[in-house]
Symmetry: C2
């Protein structure tokens, strides 16, 4: 899509820049320099300019970046501008329930359209106005709701099966919280959030400092 390859970490930092821009208090300010944005976000000014330069020339010599324009541009790049993405959460345990009511989803245009579980005690109940479906019906329900992203919050033992169901329902991306690697066709984007690994990273640091 873009001319050059974009480093993963650049995309990650774009989110940080956007977050800081949205947090700026002074509504009348027009420009912000890479230096100031850097101080606020804890990233070097040259790194910021380099990151932004992958996508275009948004700044103005002597002034900096126009705040409104830059916000719009970053939202555009990240794809959180106009489009809304449809999300399904599979596994309504502690974590799945927490995510169901996570405000950040909606704020960024991610609409949770369906919840699934395999526990008959949960199926049919509702969380935040959303009915919990039987995971058996995942494919038709996801197709009907045009789900783009599946969030996996089931146990390790069910994660791969659920992932395959999601693939069968033509989702485009999967956010996996189960501490296991899932295998899917290459067209489906997978991101893993693994608390076990986060903990072990901290532990490594504490044990070896």
């Amino acid at each position: 899509m873009f001319k050059k390859h974009i480093p993963q970490s650049t995309v990650y930092r774009l989110s940080i820049y956007l977050r800081e821009l949205e947090r700026l208090e002074d509504r009348d300010r027009v420009y912000i320099s890479s230096r100031e944005l850097g101080n606020r976000s804890g990233i070097g000014d040259d790194q910021i300019r380099k990151d932004l330069s992958y996508f275009g020339k948004f700044g103005k010599s002597r002034f900096g970046y126009p705040i409104k324009g830059l916000k719009r541009n970053i939202r555009q790049i990240l794809g959180v501008n106009n489009k809304t993405w449809h999300v399904a959460i599979i596994g309504v345990g502690n974590l799945g329930t927490a995510l169901s009511s996570y405000k950040g989803f909606r704020e960024r245009g991610f609409l949770i359209k369906a919840l699934f579980d395999n526990d008959s005690k949960k199926i049919g109940r509702s969380v935040k106005d959303l009915k919990i479906y039987d995971v058996k019906h995942l494919i038709p329900v996801c197709k009907k709701e045009e789900i783009d992203i599946g969030v996996i919050t089931v146990s390790v033992y069910h994660a791969q099966k659920v992932a395959e169901l999601l693939a069968g329902a033509d989702v485009k991306a999967v956010l996996n919280f189960a501490p296991t690697r899932i295998n899917l066709p290459h067209r489906i984007k997978i991101r893993n959030v693994d608390l076990t690994i986060e903990l072990e990273n901290i532990s490594f640091y504490l044990a070896n400092q």
Copy 2:
């Protein structure tokens, strides 16, 4: 601590290797080759050998790595072998509650010793046998319980304040789930888990594929 600098991503992958080793079914197998471990974990065999070589020579020509020994070695490196770490969770909302009952903590030797909140409706109640303390008493309670790691699951607006309290209680590391950068003395290790950014990364991919 170690001779060379260890890449962050190497530490991350060590966790993956350990996970796969623990998942091996055949209890009588003695050796595993980097090739097979690679296939199971989705990482190249040369990468695995390189990662392990930072820490020592664990393998045996012609055979591969002794499974038991390698598990023990990786646990040792990651610091999840004998030591237990004391954890406090600050913010008993949806996410904090979910984490309080996350089994992965205990399995890896992370013991949750205290919960904190600032909501008088929650203070004094219990989650999983753990009383919820008033965040006002964070410093003395954390000192008494010898907390090593603080887990921040409060809102963006309170995250920095809570982080500073934790610093005052001499925690060694912080796992931050609030979507904001927190500033702390350099001696304290900070890891951020930011769902907003995960979502935006996915969105970038979907919008630009």
